[in-house]
Point group: C2
Chain length 223, copies 2
DNA sequence: GTCAACCATATTGTATACAATTATTGCGTT
DNA sequence: AACGCAATAATTGTATACAATATGGTTGAC
């Protein structure tokens, strides 16, 4: 149980930033926020440090904290790295995956199938998360798994937007099947390629992403 | 100019941790350190936050800050990821590199040659850094470049140990030449493979690394 | 003698007060 | 009228004081 006020505030601010409740370039006023959260400036400043470390805000010395939403370019760059990290996870997992891992992955695929049938986007989203996180740890490299998880978390709001495109759920599920199949056969390069294509923003997906980005509050110009 | 006491303290502690002046598992006493640095606990705590974010210490709620040196396993894991990140930088750079980048890279190779002739390890180390950072930005993906730089910085103390192995300088230089050559020709996969092998800890390099790790103060058991 | 519960102590987390730096506004000069 | 400088106000950075939590030792019971 986290009894630290600072941690709660960090999560709260994180949410406000990724949902777009806090606009890009906006300055976070310590005194104003401390009144809003009903606490002093101290825990707020600690939360700022953590947010700055994960890149959600920029901390300029003696000037304050500023919200920094990724630009479209930065977003594409992040997806480019994410694709490669996942591909690497897959390549390692093809050699190191355990039967328990495979069984758990299979479970998520089944759950995803049901979600698609029920057209339950939230459920699919949840199971999709499980699939990818299982894959990260199946890499057998806990540092890699951690890095992948961090970036995955940072891309969370954009992935949600993507999954809402028509037909994307079915396509995503089919790709999961291909990945799992190659993984079971131990075909490292096939797994890597399938994952890279699954995650990468390319072709039509780029247009979808761009459209949803421009429509979202995150795209607001900097102050 | 950084007039923040917290930043200075962070750098100072960072140095003490990576050099092994602070042993693994050691608890960082806020009051003791604040007296030592001649300041209050506030900037120290801010420094702790930053160090925890980069993984050098662990911050347990209501219990304090503990130094966390990577285990041999974690180190190998980090090198595994570093190799892949650099390989990806190279693959992208093969398509996106500019003539100015190539010229700058060529310069570092020349400087490295001179350093090897003079047997100047410090100079070689410095030019080696330049080579790799140039490569990161040549990837044309600034997010990737940033991530690569971060991990590169974290592996710094271990790389220093590695370069001290006899004959490693010449071997490293030769590899730089191969990488640059493939880069000029635009052979993406050659660049990637050469970089992966250049960075990866495998074969004899693993033994060298393990030996230097065991000999270093970083390998001390946790308290 | 051992284990558990409780109290004392020490240490972290938070609030507030103060210092230092930056931004702003107004005035004076060109 | 526009630019530059200076004083003032606002905001961040730091110090200190206080509150909350965890640890360790002691005491009591079984």
């Amino acid at each position: 149980m986290t009894s630290r006020r600072a941690d709660i505030i960090r999560e709260s601010l994180e949410q406000m930033i990724v949902t777009g409740a806090l606009a890009n370039g906006e300055r976070l006023d310590e005194t104003a926020l401390s009144e809003r959260f009903g606490c002093s400036r101290t825990p707020l400043r600690e939360a700022f440090q953590a947010l700055a470390a994960s890149g959600l805000i920029e901390l300029l010395p003696h000037r304050g904290a500023f919200v920094r939403h990724p630009s479209l370019t930065q977003m594409v760059e992040m997806f480019e790295v994410m694709a490669e990290l996942e591909a690497f996870c897959g390549r390692l997992a093809a050699r190191r995956v355990t039967n328990a891992d495979l069984a758990a992955l299979q479970e998520t695929v089944v759950a995803c199938e049901e979600a698609v049938r029920a057209n339950d986007h939230d459920c699919y989203y949840h199971e999709n998360e499980r699939f990818h996180h299982l894959l990260y740890s199946a890499s057998g490299n806990s540092f890699l798994a951690d890095q992948a998880s961090r970036l995955h978390a940072r891309l969370k709001p954009f992935r949600r937007l993507q999954l809402r495109v028509r037909g994307r759920l079915e396509q995503s599920l089919a790709e999961h099947r291909v990945i799992l199949d190659a993984l079971e056969k131990g075909h490292a390069e096939e797994v890597a390629t399938a994952l890279r294509d699954h995650v990468a923003v390319q072709g039509g997906k780029f247009n979808d992403l761009m459209a949803s980005y421009n429509a979202s509050p995150l795209s607001a110009q900097r102050a």
